[in-house]
């Protein structure tokens, strides 16, 4: 012990100024410190849950030798509560999103294909009626939506659309189908063709689907896979052939 401190200690003892407190009483006093303050605050009507949390921070900091003021403790508690609330909210949102995924809405191709045809629905002929071969041969046309590109350049999708249109015209005749991108020739269509061209690795995937305009049901769908170096035109031809067989 420093000599100055020792001298002061001796002076205090000599003149009986000391009032020693037993060690277990010291520990008791510290253990009951926060609880007594809570009792005081409650009796004067100044206790709240948030302030109680701030007090925990205040006394915990003192215990480890950090002298925070009450205002600082309140700020720390507020910041901690904000972080916890944000984390909890994020966790709940993630859980709901993971366990209860939103159902897929109708594909845009169907919607965009159907929307321009709404005004002509009343003039459409059911594909079922046509297939029944009841002697009536209503004039219907196949409407073709431009194919979309999935992970490919637009030129590939345009080329696929053109090749399939060309092949279908060869198989079904010129007046059988119309391109829906050409708004000047919407006419009456009973069936629309939608499709896409995608690229997965070194392969092109050509996908096509026939949709009954009256019911919105899928009539037929098909796909063809061809390597990048392969015969893209023949693949489009095969798709057109399969579509033709199911029209």
């Amino acid at each position: 012990m420093n000599s100055a401190a020792e001298k002061i200690k001796k002076i205090i003892e000599r003149f009986k100024l000391e009032e020693p407190v037993k060690e277990d009483d010291q520990h008791f006093a510290r253990r009951r410190k926060r609880g007594l303050l809570l009792a005081i605050l409650k009796s004067i009507g100044e206790y709240g849950l948030f302030y109680g949390l701030a007090l925990r921070v205040f006394f915990a900091a003192k215990n480890i030798g950090v002298g925070l003021s009450m205002a600082q403790s309140v700020a720390v508690t507020l910041a901690t509560a904000a972080v916890v609330a944000a984390s909890a909210t994020g966790g709940v949102v993630y859980y709901i999103k993971y366990h209860y995924p939103v159902k897929e809405v109708m594909q845009p191709e169907q919607k965009s294909a159907l929307e321009p045809l709404a005004e002509v629905k009343k003039n459409e002929t059911s594909s079922v009626q046509l297939k029944q071969g009841n002697g009536h041969h209503p004039q219907y046309r196949l409407g073709i939506q431009p194919f979309s590109g999935e992970n490919v350049d637009e030129a590939s999708a345009v080329r696929a659309t053109d090749l399939i249109i060309k092949k279908l015209k060869e198989l079904k005749g010129e007046g059988y189908l119309t391109s829906l991108s050409n708004r000047s020739r919407t006419g009456n269509v009973a069936v629309i063709l939608v499709g896409s061209v995608g690229k997965i690795g070194d392969n092109y995937v050509i996908f096509a689907k026939l949709i009954d305009v009256a019911t919105g049901n899928n009539i037929f769908s098909t796909s063809e896979t061809v390597t990048v170096q392969g015969d893209f035109d023949s693949a489009c031809g095969r798709v057109a052939g399969q579509l033709s067989d199911n029209l």
């Binding site: 205090i12 100024l17 215990n63 030798g65």
Partner: protein, 173 residues
């Protein structure tokens, strides 16, 4: 209202141990001590705006509340404050009494401390025999900080004694 509550909390945090110690040495019972401490700080809150010297006010108030406690306990309004706070200093006579008074004044003189918290630190360590660790936990300091501050206070007190004409502390002893 919130700043008053915060001020009470901070005063309580610093002065609770010295108030607790002072009451416990008189009352001798932990639970009664806690009740008296609670009453003292509630009264402090009610008068906080008017209190200038918190330390002086607290020690005056705790004497009053302790006296009320004994009167209530003994069901005797005639309990005397001198009976409760029997000053051992009265046993000192002549020069010894004068020296004791001078030393007590030195210990009460705030200019011998850096701030009020330093005075509380000295009370806990020198008067109440708290360990440096225990005092540190009450005051939000580290053990080394408490030890350093205590030595600084001791040096200041010795310089004060010298200024009062006591060149050699051994003379006091």
């Amino acid at each position: 209202m919130h700043s008053k509550r915060n001020r009470l909390t901070e005063i309580y945090s610093d002065y609770y141990p010295v108030v607790f110690n002072a009451v416990l040495t008189k009352v001798g019972n932990r639970d009664d001590t806690l009740d008296i401490c609670q009453e003292v700080f509630i009264r402090l809150y009610e008068r906080l705006d008017r209190v200038e010297n918190v330390r002086r006010w607290l020690f005056s108030a705790l004497k009053l509340v302790v006296l009320e406690h004994f009167r209530k306990k003994r069901k005797n309004d005639q309990v005397n404050i001198d009976d409760v706070f029997n000053d051992v200093g009265l046993t000192f006579v002549n020069g010894f009494r004068d020296a004791r008074i001078m030393i007590q004044e030195a210990l009460d003189n705030i200019s011998n401390y850096a701030d009020e918290k330093d005075q509380v630190l000295f009370d806990l360590v020198a008067i109440n025999y708290y360990t440096y660790e225990e005092a540190a936990k009450h005051l939000g300091l580290t053990r080394r900080q408490v030890e350093y501050k205590y030595v600084q206070i001791a040096d200041r007190l010795l310089r004060y004694f010298k200024s009062k004409g006591i060149q050699h502390i051994e003379d006091l002893l």
